[in-house]
C-alpha cells in the first residue's frame, strides 16, 4: 500500500503547489497523521486557516473533502447514516400494489441508506482515502464526542441491520476546534495535536502575495506590519489570516497603493469585527503607524 506522502517536506511542497503555504510544524503534523493513521486535532485562533488547511490537503491529494460541520444538538442521524423512510414506505406500497411479498430485510438494504459524512468517509472507494474534516468539534455536545470514538479508533461504523462497514483505507481525518470548551481527554488521546500559531510577518506577507495577487509589495508590507501591531492590542477578536486576506483584498479592490489613515478607517470593517474592537483600533491608529498627517489631501 503506497503512502500518501514521502516525507514532511513533500507535504509542504504539494500544499505549496495548490497555493497553500504551511510551515514545517504543520507539514510534519499532517505527514505524521497520514503515516500513523491517526486523526489530527488542529487548534488555533479563529482565522489562522484550520479549515482551509483541510481543503488544501484534499486538493493536494486530489481526493474528495468530506466535511462534517458540528453544531450543538448534532445527532447521529446527521453524522453517521439515516434510513430513507419515504423510499422504504414507497417500496412497501409498490410491492403491495403488485401483490408481491416483502421480507423485513428487503427494506433495510444499502439502497435505502442515506450516507452521512462519517459513513461516506468509511464507504469511500477510490485509490486514495478521502479527507474528512470534522469542523469545530467543540461546538458539538459531549455525547457526540463519545460517538466519534468507535469511528476514530476502528475506522468502522456499525449499522445494526446491515453489519459493520470498515474503511478500506483509513481516511485522513482533521478535527478543528476553537476551544470554546475543553474537549474530553479520551478524544485528545486518540488524536495527534497541532496548535497553529499566527504566521510570522514574513510568512504572512508570502501568504498575502499568494492570495491577493492584485496587491503590490509596499501595500502588503505595511498591511502585514499593521496587522501585526493590531494583534498586540487588547481586542475581543484578534484579526486572523482570513481577516488579513479580506482586508488586503478590500484595499486592493479600492486600488490603494500606499496605506493611509483614511483607507484604514474606510476598510476597518474587514479587520475589526465588533464595535469595541473598531473603537480600540481607531483610538490606537496613531501608535499603529497611521498618524494624522499621513491623511491624503
Amino acid at each position: 500500500m503506497s503512502e500518501l506522502f514521502g516525507d514532511a517536506d513533500e507535504v509542504r511542497q504539494r500544499l505549496d503547489a495548490v497555493g497553500h503555504l504551511v510551515d514545517e510544524g504543520t507539514a510534519t503534523a499532517l505527514y505524521l497523521a497520514t503515516v500513523l493513521d491517526r486523526p489530527l486535532l488542529v487548534e488555533g485562533e479563529p482565522g489562522v486557516g484550520k479549515t482551509s488547511l483541510a481543503k488544501a490537503l484534499a486538493q493536494a491529494l486530489d481526493t474528495p473533502l468530506i466535511r462534517l460541520q458540528c453544531y450543538e444538538g448534532l445527532t447521529p442521524g446527521e453524522a453517521l447514516y439515516e434510513w430513507n423512510h419515504q423510499r422504504q414506505l414507497l417500496a412497501i406500497r409498490l410491492t403491495e400494489a403488485r401483490g408481491g411479498r416483502l421480507a423485513d430485510a428487503d427494506v433495510f438494504t444499502e439502497e435505502f441508506l442515506h450516507d452521512r459524512p462519517l459513513l461516506r468517509a468509511v464507504r469511500h472507494t477510490g485509490p486514495l482515502p478521502p479527507v474528512l474534516l470534522i469542523d469545530e468539534i467543540d461546538r458539538a455536545d459531549d455525547e457526540f464526542e463519545a460517538l466519534l470514538f468507535e469511528f476514530l479508533g476502528e475506522w468502522s461504523i456499525t449499522v445494526p441491520e446491515l453489519g459493520t462497514f470498515a474503511a478500506v483505507r483509513p481516511p485522513v481525518v482533521l478535527l478543528t476546534s476553537n476551544r470554546s470548551r475543553e474537549l474530553h481527554d479520551a478524544l485528545r488521546r486518540r488524536c495527534l495535536y497541532h496548535w497553529i500559531d499566527f504566521p510570522s510577518p514574513e510568512r504572512t506577507a508570502q501568504i498575502l502575495h499568494r492570495s491577493v495577487p492584485a496587491a503590490n509589495e509596499p501595500l502588503i508590507a505595511s498591511a502585514t506590519q499593521f496587522i501585526g501591531s493590531v494583534r498586540r492590542l487588547d481586542l475581543d477578536k484578534a484579526p486572523g489570516m482570513a481577516e488579513a486576506i479580506d482586508w488586503v483584498s478590500a484595499l486592493a479592490a479600492l486600488r490603494v497603493a500606499r496605506l493611509t489613515r483614511s483607507d484604514v478607517v474606510s476598510t476597518l470593517s474587514a479587520v475589526a469585527k465588533s464595535p469595541d474592537d473598531r473603537m480600540a483600533i481607531t483610538g490606537a491608529l496613531d501608535e499603529l503607524g497611521c498618524p494624522e498627517q499621513a491623511r491624503r489631501p
Binding site: 514532511a8 510544524g25 505524521l32 503515516v35 500513523l36 487548534e43 455536545d141 485528545r188 488521546r189
Partner: protein, 406 residues
C-alpha cells in the same frame, strides 16, 4: 553528496521516548502512553534530521493541549538546548550555575497570553477574587445587608458575623437557611428528552397521539427537548487546626449541599473521610455530631495534595467527572506544592469547574501568596472568599453566574 545522518543515531527509541515523556510529566505536562507510543512511531516515520524536525515530531505527538505547549518548549529546550550548548566552554561554565530543574541558562519561553497555568501571583493570573472586596470587612458592625430579600430578621445580624464569633444556635439557623437558599446551580444536558413547550424537536409519538383527535391530521405539534439536570457537586472541606473556626460552618454548607443537590462531601486534614451518608441525616445535630466523630484526624496537620490524590484514586474518583468541585481550605499545606499542582491539574481535567473557598480571601488586601495557593490557583476557576455566611450564600449564585458565562 551524503545523506545527512539523523540525530540520536544509536539510541533506543522506546527508552528515549519514555524518558522524555517522564520528564514532561514531571513538569506537569500530561503525556499518556498512547502519546509516547505515537512518538516512537513518529521517530521511525520522520527520522530527526534536525533539531526542528525532532521538535515538531515530539510536539505533535506528545502534547495534547494548548496550555502545555509552553512547558513542553521549556523541557525541550532544557533537554536539547543544553545538550548542544555543552560543547561550548562558556556555556558549560554557565550551566554549572543553572537551577536544578535545568532551566537556568536558556532564554525564557515566549510568553503565552492564554496560558493561565504559568500565571504567578504577581502576574495576576486568574481573577482570584471575583467579587469586589466588599466593604463587609470594614463595616461588619454597622451591618449593611447585601442580601436583604426574604431574610428572616433573626438571621440578619448573624449573616456577616465571622464564623468564629457565631454561637451554635445561630449557626444552626443559618445552616437551615442555606439549605433553602441553594436553588440556582449549573446544569448539564442529559441525553433524556422530555416533552416541553418550545423544545427544539417535534415529539413524533406525542404528536401522533394527539393527531388521533383531529382525524389523523397533526394539528398540534408537540415539542420535546433535552432534560437539564443539575451538575453533581463534590465538596472537600479542610478540617485541620488552621480551619478550626470555619470547619463547623463549612459542615453546614456541606450538609445543605448534600441534602439539596446530592453532593458528595468529604472532609480532610491528614487523610480523607467521606461524609456523604453521615451528613445526609435528617437531624442537623446528629448529622454534625456524627460527622465530627468520624473525622478522626481533626486539628492535625494538613495534606491537601495527598488527600486530593486519594480521592481521585478511590472509587469515588468518578464522581468528580463533570462535577462542580468546591474545595474549602485556607491553603496551608504540608505537601510539596509541585505535588499539589499535579493533582490539581488532574482534578481540573476531570471536573467541570473547580472553586476554592478561602476564608482568608475575605480580608482586605489579601493576595494568594502561599506556595500552596500559587500552585493551585492556575487550576481553579473561581477563588471565593468564605469567611461568613453571607459569603457562603453568595457561592451558589456566583457558581451559577460563572457557569453561564463560561
Amino acid at each position: 553528496m551524503t545523506r545527512p545522518r539523523p540525530l540520536l543515531p544509536a539510541v533506543d527509541r522506546a527508552a528515549f521516548a519514555v524518558a522524555f515523556a517522564t520528564r514532561l510529566r514531571q513538569r506537569g505536562v500530561a503525556v499518556g502512553l498512547t502519546a509516547a507510543q505515537d512518538f516512537v512511531r513518529a521517530l521511525v516515520a520522520v527520522p530527526p534530521l534536525s533539531r526542528t524536525a525532532l521538535y515538531w515530531s515530539a510536539r505533535v505527538t506528545l502534547v495534547r493541549r494548548r496550555p502545555d505547549l509552553a512547558r513542553f518548549d521549556e523541557v525541550f529546550d532544557a533537554v536539547f538546548g543544553e545538550a548542544l550548548l555543552s560543547v561550548d566552554p562558556n556555556a558549560r561554565r554557565n550551566s554549572g550555575r543553572s537551577d536544578p530543574r535545568g532551566g537556568g541558562t536558556r532564554s525564557p519561553a515566549p510568553l503565552d497570553p492564554y496560558d493561565v497555568s504559568g500565571a504567578s501571583a504577581d502576574r495576576g493570573g486568574l481573577p482570584w477574587v471575583t467579587l469586589p472586596p466588599v466593604a463587609d470587612a470594614e463595616h461588619r458592625d454597622d451591618v449593611t445587608l447585601s442580601v436583604p430579600q426574604r431574610l428572616p430578621s433573626d438571621l440578619a445580624g448573624a449573616l456577616d458575623t465571622p464564623f468564629e464569633q457565631l454561637d451554635a444556635e445561630q449557626a444552626q439557623l443559618l445552616g437551615r437557611w442555606l439549605e433553602r437558599g441553594l436553588r440556582e446551580w449549573p446544569v448539564r444536558r442529559s441525553r433524556r428528552y422530555a416533552v416541553r413547550p418550545g423544545g427544539p424537536r417535534v415529539a413524533i409519538r406525542e404528536t401522533a397521539a394527539r393527531a388521533r383527535r383531529t382525524g389523523w391530521d397533526p394539528v398540534h405539534l408537540v415539542r420535546t427537548g433535552p432534560v437539564h439536570r443539575p451538575r453533581r457537586v463534590v465538596v472537600l472541606c479542610d478540617v485541620s487546626r488552621s480551619m478550626q473556626a470555619q470547619a463547623m460552618a463549612y459542615l453546614h454548607l456541606m450538609r445543605a449541599l448534600a441534602l439539596t443537590t446530592h453532593a458528595e462531601v468529604f472532609a480532610f486534614a491528614t487523610s480523607l473521610t467521606r461524609l456523604t451518608t453521615t451528613l445526609g441525616r435528617r437531624s442537623a445535630e446528629s448529622a454534625l455530631s456524627e460527622a465530627t466523630e468520624r473525622v478522626a484526624d481533626r486539628f492535625g496537620g494538613t495534606r491537601i495534595a495527598h488527600c486530593l490524590s486519594t480521592l481521585l484514586a478511590s472509587h469515588h474518583g468518578g464522581t468528580v467527572r463533570g462535577a462542580v468541585v468546591l474545595i474549602g481550605s485556607d491553603g496551608w499545606d504540608g505537601d510539596p506544592p509541585e505535588r499539589l499542582a499535579a493533582v490539581m491539574a488532574r482534578l481540573r481535567r476531570r471536573a467541570h469547574m473547580v472553586i476554592w473557598l478561602n476564608p482568608r480571601a475575605a480580608s482586605p488586601g489579601f493576595v494568594p501568596r502561599t506556595t500552596t495557593m500559587t500552585a493551585a490557583l492556575p487550576y481553579v476557576d473561581v477563588l471565593l472568599p468564605a469567611d461568613s455566611f453571607a459569603d457562603l450564600l453568595r457561592v451558589p449564585g456566583e457558581v451559577a453566574r460563572y457557569a453561564r458565562r463560561g
